[in-house]
Each structure stands twice: as structure tokens, then as C-alpha cells.
Amino acid sequence: MLNLRRVSLLSVLILGFIACCAHFGAGQLAASGFQEAALAPLKASKPEVMPEPPREDSGRVHFKPAGTKPMEKVTLVAVGPEGFVYAGDPGAGRVLRFKPSGELASQFPLQETRSPWTGLAVDRGGTVYVAAGDRLFRYEGGTGKLLGEVRHPDGPGFFHVAPRPDSGVIASWRNPRRDDLVLVDGEGAIETIHRNAVSGATGEPMGDVLVAMDGRRTLYAAVSKLHAVCVFEFTGKYVNRFGSDGAEPGQFSGPFTGLTVDGQQRIFVSDAKGVSIFSDAGRYLRQSEAHGTGLAVSDDDELFAANGTEIVKYSAGEP
């Protein structure tokens, strides 16, 4: 009898302890801004498709939308300063915005659906830049509201766009006679045009050029026609170039599809062979395990690759 009482008493104590934990734990959740998730009423109507949690393997995170139209041909990716990941889905004419954890946060249709869609970038202020149909449009990252268009004085011709480390973006622009590098400030105004930068360095117009800019403000231009990456100072002065056509390590095959740089002075270039990594001096380091077309890097040096149906994040140590 005494043992039974003791067992009952112990049970009450344990239950009380658990109740206390639950009570104060809920308060903590509420204090940390998670109250909506914790207290949301259950819907009894039609069964919902449960969001698929982001898949992780070997430190990688796969970004795929759950409960909405899947991505079919995602070729462009960008990462904002808050860690939000933007996927460009040209087939559906939309931009998908993922939380850093991999969950879909929002999506917005492009108000200016032009094709081909060739560039996507997010600047330090969270403004999304879309290069499509030779033009460069600006959208508010959180809402998808069209903010305006960056207009080159010589007309349409924008091809690619990438974030600057300070504010604004760098974009490539071309016409049949020359290739420019265009520096755009945080308000969307053209700050500087390095006229004839690429075509001046190579001796002839090169057409489609991918661009990137590192923390030293060095400018990189990946020229498909040349199978090489050209390097420029911030002032537009040509420095050198690296790469050639071929199947050997460090050589390039087919058109370039992605170009980005990280904070560790590495340059990532994607083409038909995959993603190759170079030092900022142009020395070939290795082939990446990443697969994808469009490339982007976060402030934490994580590499993001657009892979058709998903975006994959590779940890800072990789690849």
C-alpha cells in the first residue's frame, strides 16, 4: 500500500515536472516569435500537403518548393544579405524566395516577362535584379513589386548581373559593336560604364558575358566565345585572363552558365563540364562536386547552384 502511494506520488511529481516544462517552454517559444506556429488552429477541412522539409546530405541543403508548382527549369540563383535564396524559374516566369533554412517563403511572378532570362542578382539592400530580354529590371525582394528598369544610354543589351560587395550590382551589356561592364548603385542608377571593356581587351565583340565582383572590387567577366575569364580592376582596366577551350582540368567546354566569387578569393565557373574552381590569380584549384548552371555565394561563403529542379547549397568547407 505504501509502495503504491509512493509510486503515485512519484508519478504526480513527474507529470508536474513535464507540465511545468511545457508551460514555460510555450512561453519561451512565444517570446522568441514562434507563437504563430505553436498556436495556429488545426484545419479540419481538406487534408493539406505537408511541406517537405529541406533535404540535407553531407552538409548540403536542397531548396525545392513544397505545396506549390515544382520548379522545372531553374537556371538562375541569387542569395540576399539576409540569407534568403532566390531561384529564377524562367519557364513559369516567377522568382521563388526561400528562407535560409530551405523553406519556401514566397514567390512572385515577373511583371516584365521577357525572354530569354539571362541574369538574376540580389544587392545588399535586398533589391532583386532580373536581366531578361536584353533589359535589366529591379524588383523589391520581399514583395516582388517592380521598382523600375536600369536603362543603358545605348539601349537594350543587358545580359548578366551580379551583386557588388558594397551596394548595387555589376552587369554586362553588349551590342554588335562592343561589350560594356556597367556598375549600378544601390538606387538603381548607373554609376559607371566601362565602355568597350571586354571587347577592348579581346579585340572584338564577345557577345554574352557573365560577370562577378569580389571584395577587392576586382571584376571578372566569363567570355563564352573565348572560353576564358577576363579580369579587370574596379576602374575597368584590363588585368589578364585565364582559361582555354578543352577537356583538360582548368579548361572550359561549351558556353559558360554560371560565375561567382567567394570571400576566400575563389572563383567558381560552371560550364558543360561542371563547376571549376580557380584562385583569384586564375590558378586552377579543382573541380567542384557541385552541379548546376547558375551559381551564387552567400556571406558565409556557401555555394548555391541552380540545378534544374532545385537549388543546392554546399557548405563553406565544400566544395
Binding site: G16, F17, C21, G25, P81, R124, D166, D214, Q264, D301
Partner: protein, 304 residues
């Protein structure tokens, strides 16, 4: 009323104490609050940045400033840029300077950022990085250091044939000049100096050239000087790489590979080894920020 036997009463009392302990324990676990003791003097509190050239990364952070709103500024000499972090350590913005190498930074009480770059002292609104103006430097005079000053302005050192200590008001105007302040008592011109002012307006100048710290009263009159030795066993390491004063009047001095604390009369108090800082600043809450090349580290200062 039924009387409770003594043994049963003791059991119930014990049970009550156990339940109370469990509740307290549960609350502590649920809130995630470990028993936080106040930060000890010199304890590391947080870090900003890591090695690299990307946003929020640093290569050669050798200047640091903090404003009254808690924004922290890190000047990177190699990358030629200043990064603005909020009080949580998140990068708010960064700005490149094409004028040259950044030597020193300071914020006045109004939040104006003074950037010493290539011996010129420029004033910026760091929210927009708008250039507000430049502090006058007649003739060939060159600025050597800048720090938060008395009355909401800043204090600066200027090489004007010898050396001057300047008090600069909130509008960037020089209000007082103490000519040849250090040269008059040392016969040496300042070399890569640092300057700081305590809450009483007393001025301290740390001179890399003579490895000494010179103390002046608020009127610029010389009071005393004392030698600085970061590593007594190795005199070659008697470098001064930063100077800051907390609310208790402790003088924090960055050396070659350590940070040392002195009383206001130059008495050695504390030594913190393995800290390779190149500039120091202390905010209103007695948090010490040290520019440590690839990061800015926040330490507890104030009460010992």
C-alpha cells in the same frame, strides 16, 4: 482540526521542497537561461567578422569605432573599406574609400564618423556614407590619429612641424589646439601615435616611437608620462597599437600581442595575453572593441 503527526509533516515538507525545486529547475531548463554571471573584467563577449574579403569579412582590420547607438565600424586597411555593423553584429553596410589607406576611425556623439585616411581627416554620415566635409589642415600638416573627444566632439593628433593635440567640435571645427604637446616634453616627434580622453577630460597620447604614454590635463598641460611594456621579457615588443579608457578610468593599451590595463597614473593592473589588437575603443556601456585584423572582438571593461 486533525493533527498531523510529526513524521508525516516532515515528509510533506520535504515533498514540498522537492516540488519547488523541480518547478524552478523546469523553468530554468525551459527558458534556456543558464546561470549567467556578470561578465568578468576583460572577458570576451562576442566577435564580428572572419578572415576573408567578402562582406562582413576582414583582412587587415586596424581601426575600430563605435557610436552611441551601438553601431560598430571596422576599418580594413588592405581592402580600403569600412564596414558598419549593428549592435547584434550584423553587417548594415560597407563603403570603399578610394582616397588611400585607412589609419584611424572615431565617432562623435552625433554619430558622425571621422575617417583618417592618407593623413586627411574626413567626416562622413555613415548611414548614407555621405561626405560631410574635411577637417582643416593648414599647410603641410598631417593628421596622425583621431578618437572620441570631450563635449561630444573628437580629439585628434596632427603633425604640424612637431605635434599638436586638437579638440574638434560637433561641426568639425577645431576649437582648441595644444601646440607641440608631446615634443615639448620628449624632444621626439610622434610616430604612429594613439590618443584617448577620459571622462574628466584628461588626455592620453600613446607614442609608438618612444613607447611611452603621455598624460595631459584638460587644458593641455603635461602631467606625467610612463613607459609601456607589453612583454617585459622581450623589450622589442614594446609597441603601442591602441588606447582606450573605460568609465572607471582604466587605461587599456594594445601591445604587440597582448592587451594591458593601467591605472590613470600609469600603474600596471592587468595583462591579457594572446590578443593581437591594433586599435581599441570603449562604448558607453564599458564594452571594449578591439580591431584584431580579421575580426573585431568585444570584451568587458569597466569594473574589475
Amino acid at each position: 482540526m486533525r493533527r498531523i503527526p510529526g513524521e508525516t509533516w516532515r515528509k510533506r515538507r520535504t515533498l514540498g521542497a522537492v516540488v519547488l525545486a523541480l518547478v524552478v529547475c523546469a523553468r530554468g531548463l525551459a527558458s534556456g537561461e543558464a546561470s549567467r554571471s556578470p561578465a568578468t573584467f576583460g572577458q570576451e563577449l562576442s566577435r564580428i567578422g572572419k578572415k576573408g574579403i567578402g562582406p562582413s569579412q576582414m583582412v587587415e582590420a586596424q581601426a575600430v569605432a563605435v557610436d552611441s547607438q551601438g553601431f560598430v565600424y571596422a576599418g580594413d586597411r588592405e581592402l580600403g573599406r569600412v564596414q558598419r555593423f549593428n549592435s547584434a553584429g550584423k553587417l548594415e553596410s560597407l563603403h570603399y574609400f578610394d582616397e588611400g589607406r585607412i589609419t584611424s576611425l572615431a565617432c562623435d556623439r552625433a554619430g558622425v564618423l571621422y575617417v583618417l585616411i592618407e593623413r586627411r581627416l574626413l567626416r562622413y554620415d555613415p548611414k548614407t556614407w555621405t561626405l560631410l566635409g574635411e577637417v582643416e589642415h593648414p599647410g603641410d600638416s598631417e593628421f596622425l590619429a583621431v578618437a572620441p573627444g570631450p563635449d561630444g566632439g573628437v580629439i585628434a593628433l596632427r603633425d604640424n612641424s612637431h605635434d599638436d593635440i586638437l579638440l574638434i567640435d560637433r561641426n568639425g571645427k577645431i576649437t582648441r589646439t595644444f601646440h607641440d604637446a608631446v615634443y615639448a616634453v620628449s624632444d621626439y616627434s610622434l610616430h604612429e601615435p594613439f590618443v584617448a580622453v577620459d571622462r574628466g577630460g584628461f588626455i592620453y597620447v600613446g607614442d609608438e616611437g618612444t613607447h611611452r604614454i603621455y598624460k595631459f590635463d584638460p587644458q593641455g598641460r603635461f602631467i606625467s608620462r610612463f613607459g609601456f611594456s607589453a612583454d617585459p621579457a622581450d623589450p622589442s615588443r614594446e609597441n603601442i597599437h591602441g588606447l582606450a579608457i573605460d568609465s572607471q578610468g582604466h587605461l587599456w593599451v594594445a601591445g604587440w600581442s597582448s592587451v594591458n590595463v593601467f591605472s590613470s597614473d600609469g600603474r600596471f593592473l592587468e595583462h591579457f595575453g594572446d590578443r593581437r589588437a591594433h586599435d581599441l575603443v570603449i562604448d558607453d556601456q564599458d564594452a571594449l572593441y578591439a580591431a584584431e585584423w580579421t575580426q573585431v572582438t568585444k570584451y568587458a571593461a569597466g569594473k574589475r
